[in-house]
Symmetry: C2
Subunit: 496 residues, 2 copies
């Protein structure tokens, strides 16, 4: 277990301000990230190469995302279904452009039985070799397209709006918890429409839902726009992406919607009889956000003391710590238990941390996990019917003592204010670190000087031959052409 | 699409009573089952061998199961997490008994990249062969046991109660939608305790939750008991199972809880420092129910007109069909839309079937999908502020006309009564088809005469050498030793 900041810092460097996470963001952002994940108990590496174990506190965030967003999708008319995990290899050969982009690095199933290797171990049984290998899905356009070709007959069957919450697997060479793992979780929407307008409207509508979800629940904003052709999804006509800025100035693609045109409809024969009684190709879309978002949440919000959870997605919104001494322990615990019950009755997610541990350890645990409001109650507070709370987004300066009833009444407002403060902070950071440029020299100078952030350039710059070399030199990529700029600008940045 | 009974029967046999499903249960139970699945639009076979596509109406049942049961598990103290889909092959070699029972027929991942085969197709890339193959999890005792060995240090970390909602994959040779598929969905609980009592209490408590869930939500009861040694989970000390009786008299094992003793703790080194400051092995458990349950629901409740959904799990509890004529269509539709809204506001799951189809087709669709209450409203009903409803569990004889407000008030009671009626019906069937026997001759005579049901024999019969031959001859198995009989009896039956 991580030690509280005091001890850690004592061992390391007496002059530095005390932080619960070592190293700090400034010292080593990548390592700081790993330490935040670890100290918040979100996830860990597993014995399976490149795959993570998402621990209960981390998984609860994903469950909360699912709970909220799934309802929105259903309200929009989307129906959930479940398609096979394994996809026949030949399905990937069928869509040439798609396979180029996707099917290369993936888990290939070649045998269907194990046998003893005669040395106490196991081996794939030679007589159980599959005639056609299967691929653990890296994404499901192909197998869902194949199903749609059977399910769609007439314009009456359209739009067909399907979604599944599932894991996918892409064999990644360099992995990082949440940000890039072989197995990750997402929802994948696959919709079919009569025409281009239906498909494009769908892409924009769902992107609007993502934007609403990210701002209203995850407290972060980003740039919504169209991907450049090089960054477009393999097989798609157009990809819309939500690009968020992390605290190191790099971009994280947090969600995408793809207008697949008739590419997959042609390959998988997804046709319908139109109102004109003629056969037409469907226009299909696909869209997703994934557990990468949790990595984004961390790099967007966490500080040198660990995670700061946006309240609306936080598995625990309020944590209650009893400050116990032997003679008053029972009474304080009962007082805390009652408060927990009252807050739960009002719908808050509350944890009463009554573990048999030192109070400072519990306090730091709550800090590192990023619980939005930490409540502390000792014998004196109890006698006066009061409590003390600290906001995680502000820290000690927010320490406030209130009558218990007043806190119960005000808690929702405090959580809303934490959300608003966090959102405003990330927006401010994004705006301060997004710069307009007009030349490739400016781009080069910016990144040469090790400045951080996004550069916004006129789209014409994409046609300049010199751009590629600079992009390569500084590991840059085009993020998207923001809708807000009417597609006249392109964002250039380093990215996860 | 299936045609309504009238047309079908007209083509086949004029003397038979009209049924929406052909064949009937009596004619061919196995084929009847497939036709119910198909006509209710639950699921279909996929291009992936042995794997199914669960369609929206079928998936909604599983989502409802998850929603209800997940809350119960959390109330009990279980935390959800997520463990890798792929498990290193060597993990299965470690627990000898477990591998014997499990790891043989499974999907083996041997390569991590595809490459062009030079003929327009793809092939696994030889230079991307894995040093150690992975197995798509058939169950997760091994990888979760390995994690527990890292996570558990002291008795303070116990009990550790983990669960995941996930799919597993077992390479089945003969598959049947829901009942036996290569990929299926389940939740798998994995808990660790200080001692045997903790583990056994856990098995009994969770089995109690299953029993409550099956009776109170799925409207079916079964026999809860301990498996005989031959039927015990590979590696477990004791397996409790819930055995339900299908309409053909066969048993379906609907849920199990396993007391794994210290088997996995030994293999994966799951130890804790006890209150005595010494190192001890944990006692672990695992338990599950799966999408097989949906197959059970069908074979338990459906009739020759298709599915009958238990109301508390039904994706649609009430379906509203407008009976429209040209001049009154708009008014009737508005009337139905308002009723839909009022019912939804009261928390019912309601579908207003306003599709552009013939009313009898819609009516039969609702029958085959098993929607518990079908409401029909035409111009006359509308004018009189009334509606007509039919209960799916009873059929036409239940046809009732009520004032709309009265229906809204009574709907909950009607749904409860449907549930109670369905539960009583399945209990009656189970009791009528469970017979006490004392000799092997009686067992043989019963199945030789092609009678259906469960036989309950004294456990001493298990020691009779002649039992095995009879069991083999009639494809029988011991189901469990019911707790209600204090373990003195054993159930013998055919089984899925």
């Amino acid at each position: 277990m991580n030690k509280p900041a005091k001890q850690q810092q004592g061992q390391n460097n007496k002059k530095k301000p005390r932080t619960a996470i070592t190293p700090t963001r400034e010292e080593d952002f990548a390592e700081w990230y790993q330490q935040v994940v670890k100290s918040a108990d979100f996830a860990e590496n597993s014995p399976t190469r490149g795959c993570m174990i998402i621990k209960p506190y981390g998984w609860a965030i994903w469950e909360k995302c699912q709970e909220i967003f799934d309802k929105w999708l259903k309200d929009y008319g989307v129906e959930n279904a479940s398609f096979p995990l394994l996809i026949p290899m030949s399905f990937f050969s069928r869509e040439a452009e798609h396979v180029e982009g996707f099917a290369k690095e993936c888990a290939v199933v070649t045998h269907h039985r194990l046998e003893s290797d005669g040395k106490g171990g196991l081996q794939p049984a030679e007589d159980a070799k599959l005639e056609e290998p299967y691929v653990v899905r890296p994404t499901s356009e192909t197998i869902i397209g194949d199903a749609m070709s059977r399910w769609i007959q007439s314009y009456r069957d359209l739009p067909m709006q399907l979604n599944q919450w599932a894991q996918v697997l892409r064999w990644e060479m360099r992995t990082r918890l949440f940000l890039r793992t072989a197995e990750f979780f997402w929802h994948e929407g696959h919709n079919a429409f009569e025409d281009h307008k239906g498909a494009d409207d769908d892409c924009l509508h769902v992107m609007g839902l993502y934007e609403k979800f990210f701002t209203e629940h995850l407290a972060f904003d980003g740039f919504v726009g169209v991907k450049t052709p090089e960054e477009t999804f393999p097989g798609a006509n157009r990809t819309y992406a939500f690009e968020a800025m992390m605290q190191d100035g790099k971009a994280l693609q947090a969600a995408t919607t793809h207008d697949l045109g008739t590419t997959f409809a042609k390959t998988f024969n997804i046709t319908y009889q139109g109102r004109d009684e003629k056969e037409h190709l469907c226009h299909t879309t696909s869209w997703a956000f994934s557990t990468r978002t949790i990595g984004g949440l961390i790099m967007m919000h966490a500080d040198d003391d660990g995670m700061i959870m946006p309240p609306r997605i936080a598995p625990q919104q309020i944590i209650i710590l009893p400050i116990v001494k032997e003679d008053t322990a029972e009474a304080v615990q009962a007082f805390c238990a009652k408060l927990t019950k009252d807050l739960k009755a009002k719908g808050f997610r509350v944890k009463f941390d009554n573990r048999d541990m030192r109070t400072p350890d519990k306090m730091w645990d709550a800090v590192k996990k990023g619980v939005p409001i930490r409540v502390e109650i000792g014998a004196r507070e109890m006698e006066e019917g009061q409590l003390t709370y600290v906001r995680r987004d502000i820290g000690r300066e927010s320490k406030t003592t209130l009558a218990v009833e007043e806190f119960v009444d005000k808690a929702e407002g405090i959580l809303d204010d934490i959300h608003d403060t966090m959102l405003a902070r990330t927006r401010k950071f994004r705006d301060e670190n997004t710069h307009d440029v007009t030349s490739i020299d400016e781009i080069e100078a910016f990144f040469k000087a090790e400045k951080i952030g996004f550069l916004r350039a006129p789209v014409a710059i994409l046609e300049d031959d010199k751009l590629e070399a600079v992009m390569k030199e500084y590991s840059l990529s085009t993020r998207n052409m923001p809708n807000a700029d009417k597609g006249e600008k392109v964002l250039i940045a380093k990215a996860y």
